[in-house]
Structures are given as C-alpha cells and as structure tokens.
C-alpha cells in the first residue's frame, strides 16, 4: 500500500530541495482546500505532501512604498481584514473574499487558488487585472513573473519540478485608480464562478479612463486578459456607448464550454453583463479617489 509522506520544511530553500528531490509526485500544501478534496476523492495520488506553512514569512501581508507583498500561504480571510489592502485593491480583496465559505477562506490561499489552475478561480482575474506578480522559488533561484504566466490550462501550471510560488506582489497604485471583481453564481454563496470579470482602471481628473485592464474568468481554459475590452475603455468615460463596446468585446473574447455549471451561450452573454457592471464599480471607486 503506497504510503503518503508529509514534510513541513522551515525555509524556502528546504522546500525547494524537498520538492526537487522527491521520488514520485510531490504536492505543495498551502491552504489545502483544493488539495484535500482531490486527495480524498482519489483524483490525485501523490507520494509526498510538502506543507509550506511553517516557513517564516510565507503567511502575512506587508505594505511598503512599492506596493504590497502577500505571503503565498496567507489565508484569504486575512486579505479581507487588511484595511490597507482593501483600500488600495478592493477588487483583489473582494475576489479573494468570494472564495468559498468563511471556513474555506480561513485556510484557502492565493497560491493555492492560482496553482490549482481552475479556469474559474476567483482571485486570478483580479490579480491579473491588478498587474500582480508572483515570486517563484526553485532550484534555479528566484524569479518574478506576472500572475498570468502561471496557469497554462485547467489543472496545469508552468511551474517546473521543485518550483513553488512564495509571494504575490501588487504594485503601487497611481491616483484615481481602482479595481472591481464580480462573478456570477447560481446561489448567493458557495458556488464556483460560472463567469468572473475583473476590471482595473485609472482615470484622469475629468473621469476619462487613461489605463484599463479587463480580465475574464471561467470562460476559457485559463483566465483571459482582454486587451480589446480595455481598449474600449481607454480614452473614454463610462457612457452607454462605451459600455456597449465593452460588452461586445468581452463577449467576443469568450471561449467557454458548456458544462454542469453553465452553457456557452449563458457564459458569453453574462461575461458582457459582468464586464459592464464591474467597470461601473471600478470607475465609481476610482472617481472617489484623489
């Protein structure tokens, strides 16, 4: 009977070494809210679990002049309680705050949400819209990559053997910038997103958008950055025409599937709706900032 081993390294280098040197499959245990479910159902059958939570600094949120650094194993509930993060990145925080129940948020982490690579992961569109990066530690050292470089398809990442995400970084915010994340679920809680939309904008004093990023979730194998949707916003105020162009651009970018959570038609239609609504919130928030 295969024995499942457990390791709890106390430094990043030790974690890298354990992962790189593992015989058979090794899985990183961060929050565990995806891993344990997959373990229980037999969907994954690793030989080794590497619990990274004992590494100092891997849990915590640091604010400095350059922005924010969030330890990879920080439970999402902590993000929702961090006033500074909420003020600067309300969209990222509300996205993390939508991951499962309070119980799930007490454990679930951004690293797990990202590396589990579900197309419907809630935090990912918001992080990409925010131009977040993640620090990857591996046998070759550390590298910092945009969040969108990690997931390559459902359940697949670009991480090599021995690599793990150790930190997320959010850049400093220019004035009159804000983000927002909305998702559609059939109930009011506890569902995987059928569609997710993240919008991050910067406005100039008159309310015209000078910079935008629009990212859709659950409508393609990974979260997708939609440059055409951003282009619909840049140089414009959020008027009816802009919203219509945004809606259309969002719909055109969708490559969804029909599954037990939604149909192609539904996801496409709602992607446009959510993009409009998220843009509305982001613009309103940005307009309130000096």
């Amino acid at each position: 009977m295969p024995m499942l081993s457990y390791s709890a390294p106390t430094t990043i280098d030790e974690a890298v070494s354990v992962l790189a040197g593992a015989n058979g499959t090794a899985k990183v245990l961060s929050g565990g809210t995806d891993l344990l479910v997959q373990l229980r159902s037999g969907r994954i059958q690793p030989d080794l679990i590497v619990d990274i939570k004992r590494i100092p600094g891997i849990i915590g949120i640091r604010q400095d002049p350059g922005g924010f650094a969030i330890g990879a194993a920080t439970p999402c509930i902590l993000l929702t309680e961090h006033q500074g993060l909420k003020a600067a990145w309300p969209g990222v925080v509300e996205a993390a705050g939508l991951i499962g129940s309070i119980q799930v948020k007490g454990r679930a982490t951004l690293a797990g949400n990202l590396c589990n690579a579900s197309p419907a992961a809630d935090s990912v569109p918001a992080l990409i819209a925010a131009r977040a990066t993640c620090v990857v530690a591996g046998p070759g050292g550390r590298r910092e990559v945009p969040v969108e470089a990690i997931a390559t398809g459902p359940g697949r990442t670009s991480l090599a053997k021995g690599e793990l995400v150790v930190e997320f970084r959010l850049p400093k915010r220019p004035p009159r910038s804000a983000d927002a994340y909305l998702r559609l679920i059939p109930r009011t809680e506890m569902d995987i997103a059928v569609v997710g939309a993240a919008v991050s904008v910067t406005l100039e004093a008159g309310g015209t958008c000078t910079e935008a990023r629009v990212v859709l979730g659950a409508v393609a194998p990974t979260a997708i950055l939609v440059p055409e949707a951003a282009a619909a916003l840049v140089g414009h105020r959020l008027d009816a025409e802009t919203l219509q162009r945004l809606d259309a651009a969002a719909r055109r970018a969708c490559k969804p599937i029909t599954d037990k959570r939604g149909t192609i038609e539904y996801r496409t239609q709602v992607a446009g709706v959510l993009a409009r609504r998220a843009a509305g919130i982001a613009f309103a928030r940005a307009g309130e900032r000096r």
């Binding site: 009977m1 059939p186 109930r187 009011t188 059928v194 539904y266 239609q269």
Partner: protein, 758 residues
C-alpha cells in the same frame, strides 16, 4: 375518541418548552449513526458500478479476500435470492426482491453507483484497497434515463419480465413502464366542451435528492448465537429489522435494531441500503462492522425522487369555474418500479371541487438510482404543474389567483378524484388567511413579482405503540417506537404531560429499540404526532384511570368519587371538598402497596388522519440580465389542525418551504452522456444556503382534526408542495415569462427572458 378541550384550555399543548433532546444536540453529545464505536469493529465499504446499465459477467473477490486486514467480502451470492413479493414495510411501493437487488446487484447493474460487492476490513485504507482488488467484468448495455425516452418503443429494457400493470389487456411484451394508474370523476371531455377557455400545458422536472446532511450510517453486530444487533439512523427501526430479516433470511426476533439520532431523512431513510450489507459482513467476519456512506455515495446510490413530465389541461368558464381538468403524469421510478406517481395523481387536484376530472399516471423504470420517498412523494411535482397552469388560467381570465382558487375550493363534502369525501378540512381557511395577510398587499418594485400556489397532503395514521410508566417519584417516562425527525419526541412528552396534568419537565420521552417497545410503523407520512401521539394519549389516559383507582384505595373512597385534575385526584363535582387533592407523586409513592407498578401500553392502528392544505405567497426579484432569482419574501399558510409545539410546526413549514425553493431554483441531478452523475456533491448539487433565503413566515391556521384527541393534523409534508409553483408564478409576474421546466436556474431563466424579448 373525543377531541379534548378547546384553544386556551391547555396547560402544556400549544406552549414551547425546550426539546428534551436539545442539550445533547447543542453540545455535540447526541449519538448519530456514525458516532458509535464498538470493540473490534471493522470498517465496511461498498464497490459500486461505474456503468449506468451493464450485465455482470463475473466478480472475482479472491485478491480482496487475501489482503491482510480484510475480514469479510460479500456479493449477491452471499444473500438469498428472493422471489417477487410486495412489501408493506416502508413508505411507498416496494418489492422485497427489488430491494434485495437494489442493496446488492444480482446479474445486472442498473445505475451508476449500484452496489456489486462489499468488504469489511480493519481500517478504512485497507477497505479501500480491497475494493480496488475486486475484479468485476461488465458487459455495458445501452442505458436510458429520461422518462419519455424510457417509455418509447425500442428503449433499452431494464427488466425483461416487467409487464405494465394497470393496462387491460396486459401487454404481451415487457417494457420500462411498470404501472399505469388512472383516477376519474364525471366526464372530462364534456367538461372541456363546456369550457370557454381551455389551457393545455406541459411541464418537466428533474430528479432531486432529499439531501439530508447526515450520510447513511450503521453499525451491525452478529453474534455467534445468531442474535444480531443493528445501530443505525433511519426513519424506522422496525422497518430496518423487517427488511434485514427478509433480505438475509433471518427470523425477525433475532434482530434488534436500536435507532440512533437521525440527521435528516425526509423520506430518504425509509428503506435500507447499508444495513443488510453490514449484517452480512458481520456474520462472515464475526465482528461488528460499521458502514458510513460518503456524500458521493449518497448522491450516486440512494434514491432521489422522480424526474417527471406532467401534461395538464384545464378548462373553465369565464367566471373562473373549472369545468374540466386532466393531467397525465410520467414519473421516473429509477432502477426498480415504485415511483410516487399514484399519490401524485391523487394529490394533483385535491384542493379543488371538480365534477369532471381525469388523472393518469405512468411509473417508468430507468437507469438511475431507485426512487425513495421525498416529503409528500409525488405531490410537489404534480402541484408544480397544476398550480402553474391555474396561475396562467387566472391571468387569462383576468382573475385574482386566490379568487380563482376560492371559486373552485374543496370544502367539507367535496369528493376527491381518488374517492374520499372531505370532512373537517381547512383549505378555504388558508386561502382566506392568504388574502388578508399583509404580504398580499405589500407593494412591489421593478423586476419583482408575486406568486400564489396551493398544496395538499394526505397524511397517514397507521400502527403505533406507546407506553407510559410512572416512576416512584411521580415523574413519568413515555416510550414510543418512532425516530424523532422533527421534534416529535417533545410533542409526545407534551401530550402525555397534558393528560397526566403534570409539568412537561417531569415527563421523559424515549424512543425505544425494536425489542423494548411494541411495533410502530415508521416515521413518515406526517404520522407521528398524529398516530403515535394518539397512542401516547391513550396510554396516558389509561394511566390516569389507574391513578384514580389507586387514589380511591388510598383515600378509602369509591372510584366514582374521584376525578383527575391538574395532576391530582380530586373529589368529583358531586361531592366537592370530600378530601384534599392527592397529587400524582403521592400516589406513585404508594404504588407497590396499592397494586404494583403504574403503567399502561397502547397499541393502535390510528385511523382518521386529517389531510393538510396550504396556500403560499412568494415574492421574487429577477435580474433580467443574468436570470438570477432572489426570494424576497415568503409566507406559508397552512392548516395544521392543532400545533402541539408551535415552534416545531413552524420549523416543519419553514424547512419544507426551503426544500421546495431549492427544488424550484437550482437542485437537479445532472447526468452525462454515459449516464454518470456529474454533480454528486454539495458543490454542484445546490441546496439553498442561509444567504439564499429570507425569513420564512409560517402562519398556522388551526382547523382541528376531530379524530385526534388534541385535534392534531400531520404537518411535515404539505409545506414542500406549493413552493415550486409559487416561485414559478412569481417569476412570471416579475418578468412576463412562464417557466415550465425545473429547475429555474439562472441560465434557463435568462434564456427564457431572451427568447421572449427577441
């Protein structure tokens, strides 16, 4: 027996004491099916079919048997082959042969998840490994799940000996239609000819699961002397005993079943799945065996209710009088016959006084788990269709939906389509209360709408036994044989306390095991407070009679000089003041000297269960861009007969409404092209969560049932009958769009809105 007292005269009945099992439950001490451990206990697990329909070519268990730690392995070969025989043990139609084959597949697997073997081992991990070592060779067969596809000629056949009953002449070839039922009154074609408006509509529903939070669990222990003990959570310990005895070929007296606390049943635990397997494994291994289903197993292998197609035709004159009503109900039975299509047919128009009505039902087998009862089995589906159609009729005629129902309401003297003449029913009272309720007049905003729907359930009586014992200190114990799934134990104590005249805190209610209390039919059919309550009252009244006789001895007066009041023997009105009241405790103290222990037993087959009626009001708000539906406000008005413990009656109403809302909006079984269930978990089988619902106002109208000493009417099932139509009607009011297919999930609502606006 005569109804006792009137409103306001009761000391205990109608109050809200804390339930006797409450502290146990809020401290985590209450013992549910999976909470028991016995020395030497093994873990049992089940191997299940990955195919929706297949012939079992061979099963080889030798490698599993040889694995260290495995102590027993069973397949169908370890169970007696049972001939076809109707069982009158549980709720709904059941055949012993079918139940046996459902518990352990014989020859064929008929649904994904169908049990083919079971093992018992010294640990969970070893049991899992043993399952992987069992080699089953299947010959997959074409499968069919949709009810109409299963009825169509040329459909894959589940049972080659299934000849449709209820058709004359009987068909010569087998099919998937197990039974046809038909009820009618008058001449429905004439009724349609007399109508000025005729609506003909088709409705569909998907299978939904009872979704109790506690998975099935049991511990079985077979002794070397053949004496067997089973500890399980179920809706009927006597049902478990009877089914296990039959399925294993054992005498009933050799099995003792102790009911654990049950974590929800709603009809889904009125039969057995694990208990016969655990018992067989225990016999083979000589050790106790615990079996607990995973959530996935609960969804894949236990009975959700039917998915269905219902075609309704209603004709009326312009003033709203229904002149003809017809319905054809096609219900999935799952792998074996026994859908609730018959009660569905009977309940469909039960709220209405109709001269011309025809209802036909088809019980259709298909490759999904065998249907189990789910709260008012059959009626919610039928009412979704009929109450939606009536709503459309009201709008077509420009009539208020409550007024339409009042015009056609069943009253005392109305004959129901399935035969009985109503007496002492409270349907009209619920309509009147709905009309007067503040909810009905409350203003609505944009994208909001209000729906009305009514419901009915028969409620049953049946066999129950109860005992009342007086302890030496004057406290009492009430023993009955019905698992408590909704607070019935509190009501038993309250009724006994009322009759005995003592505070309810001095009465301890116990649910006995099968060897400690006489036979009781299971907990279901909204019967316990009615039937078991009746037995409790009868036993308590006999105890009072005995207390009076003992008092006469103690006081040295004749028994005619004594009455029982407020828990004491008092002088009868003919001779007041003759002696000071002699309280129960004082009589109990002298029990030994006056004749021995004071107790009584009542074994009854309770008749006269009163049917229940309800009218519900539902307000929704629909997001026209996403199809999401929010329930804003819900009022459920129900004739409850007499609420023994009002909080628990309210609780039944609120719980039933919540299940109905889930059924209406998001719950459904989703199958892939291979007949495999895609959503066997609470993530994608979407029951309502706390943030999905508003407060649910339960309005209890009391039209006492004169055939129960306290006027009790069953209450637990009616509440799930109206919500689906109430929600559908509200969505129509909010959007102008009529949804006839459940569930009304956001994609379906949005698609309907989009179709309507393009």
């Amino acid at each position: 027996m005569a109804t006792m007292g009137t409103q306001g005269q009761f000391k205990v009945v109608g109050t809200r004491p804390v339930r006797p099992d409450g502290v146990e439950k809020v401290t985590g001490r209450a013992a549910f099916g999976a909470d028991l451990s016995l020395p030497g206990m093994l873990v049992g697990k089940v191997k299940r079919s990955p195919h929706a329909h297949a012939r079992i070519v061979s099963i080889d268990v030798e490698k599993a048997r040889a694995l260290p730690g495995v102590k027993a392995v069973v397949t169908a070969a370890d169970f007696p082959e049972i001939a076809s025989e109707e069982a009158f043990v549980g709720e709904g139609p059941m055949n012993f042969r079918d139940l046996s084959c459902n518990c352990m597949a014989r020859g064929k697997v008929l649904y994904e998840g169908h049990a083919v073997a079971a093992v018992a081992a010294t640990s969970s991990a070893i049991a899992d490994a043993a399952l992987d070592l069992i080699e089953v060779v299947y010959e997959p067969l074409p499968h069919v799940i949709d009810v109409e596809a299963a009825m169509a000629p040329g459909a894959p056949l589940l049972h080659d000996d299934l000849i449709t009953q209820g058709v004359d002449p009987a068909p010569r070839t087998p099919s998937n239609v197990a039974k046809r039922v038909h009820f009618s009154l008058g001449d429905v074609e004439a009724g349609f000819r007399a109508a000025q408006v005729v609506l003909e509509r088709r409705y569909t529903t998907k299978p939904v699961h009872q979704a109790y939070i506690e998975p099935h669990a049991c511990v079985a222990s077979a002794g070397a002397d053949g004496q067997c003990q089973i500890w399980c959570s179920s809706q009927g310990q006597f049902m478990v005993r009877a089914y296990c005895a039959k399925l294993l070929g054992l005498p009933i007296s050799s099995i003792r079943v102790t009911p654990a606390e049950i974590g929800g049943g709603f009809g889904g635990k009125t039969l057995v799945y694990l208990e016969p397997l655990a018992l067989a494994l225990s016999k083979q291994s000589g050790r106790p065996v615990k079996m607990v289903m995973t959530r996935e197993e609960v969804f894949r292998a236990t009975g959700p209710t039917s998915g269905a197609v219902v075609e309704v035709k209603i004709g009326a004159t312009r003033d709203g009088k229904i002149t003809g009503a017809q319905a054809v109900l096609k219900y999935q039975a799952g792998a074996f016959p026994g859908s609730p299509v018959q009660p569905g047919c009977m309940a469909a128009f039960a709220m209405y006084d109709l001269d011309n009505v025809s209802v036909t039902g088809y019980d259709v087998v298909c490759n999904r788990p065998k249907v189990a009862a789910y709260r008012a089995p059959g009626a919610p589906i039928a009412s979704f269709a009929v109450e939606s159609c009536l709503d459309e009729l009201a709008r077509t005629l420009g009539l208020d939906p409550i007024a339409l129902r009042e015009k056609n309401a069943a009253k005392d003297g109305t004959r129901a389509v399935y035969g009985p003449i109503w007496k002492d029913i409270g349907y009209v009272e619920t309509l009147q209360a709905a009309k007067k309720h503040a909810h009905y007049a409350a203003p609505l905003g944009p994208n909001q709408g209000r729906g009305v729907a009514s419901g009915f359930w028969f409620n049953i009586g049946g066999e129950s036994t109860a005992e009342v014992h007086i302890n030496e200190d004057g406290t009492a114990v009430v023993v009955s044989g019905n698992p408590d799934i909704g607070g019935s134990r509190a009501s038993m104590a309250m009724m006994a306390a009322e009759v005995l005249g003592i505070p309810v805190e001095r009465v301890r209610p116990i649910v006995g095991d099968t060897s400690s209390i006489g036979y009781s039919f299971l907990t279901g059919g909204s019967r316990v407070t009615f039937a078991t309550g009746m037995a409790v009252v009868q036993a308590a009244q006999e105890v009072v009679g005995e207390l009076k006789r003992r008092a006469a001895l103690i006081l040295d007066v004749s028994p005619e000089a004594i009455e029982w009041r407020d828990g004491a023997a008092v002088p009868s009105d003919a001779d007041p003041g003759r002696f000071a009241p002699l309280p129960l405790a004082a009589i109990a103290l002298k029990a030994g000297r006056t004749g021995g222990p004071i107790s009584a037993k009542a074994s009854i087959n309770a008749q006269g269960a009163g049917p229940g009626f309800a009218t519900h009001l539902c307000d929704v708000e629909v997001d026209p861009e996403t199809g999401q539906v929010k329930i804003l406000r819900y009022t459920a008005i129900q004739d409850v007969g007499r609420a023994i413990h009002p909080s628990y009656v309210e609780g039944q109403i609120q719980g039933g409404v919540a299940q109905g809302i889930g059924w209406a909006l998001n719950e459904e079984y989703i199958y892939d092209a291979n007949g495999r269930l895609e959503n066997p978990g609470f993530l994608d089988y979407r029951v309502p969560v706390a943030s999905d619902l508003p407060m649910i106002e339960a309005v209890m109208v009391e039209v006492p049932n004169p055939r129960h000493p306290f006027g009790v009417r069953g209450v637990g099932e009616v509440p799930i009958v109206p919500p689906m139509a109430a929600v559908a009607n509200a969505i129509h009011a909010a959007t102008g769009v009529r949804l006839a297919d459940l569930p009304m999930s956001p994609p379906r609502v949005l698609a309907a809105i989009t179709r309507a606006t393009t």
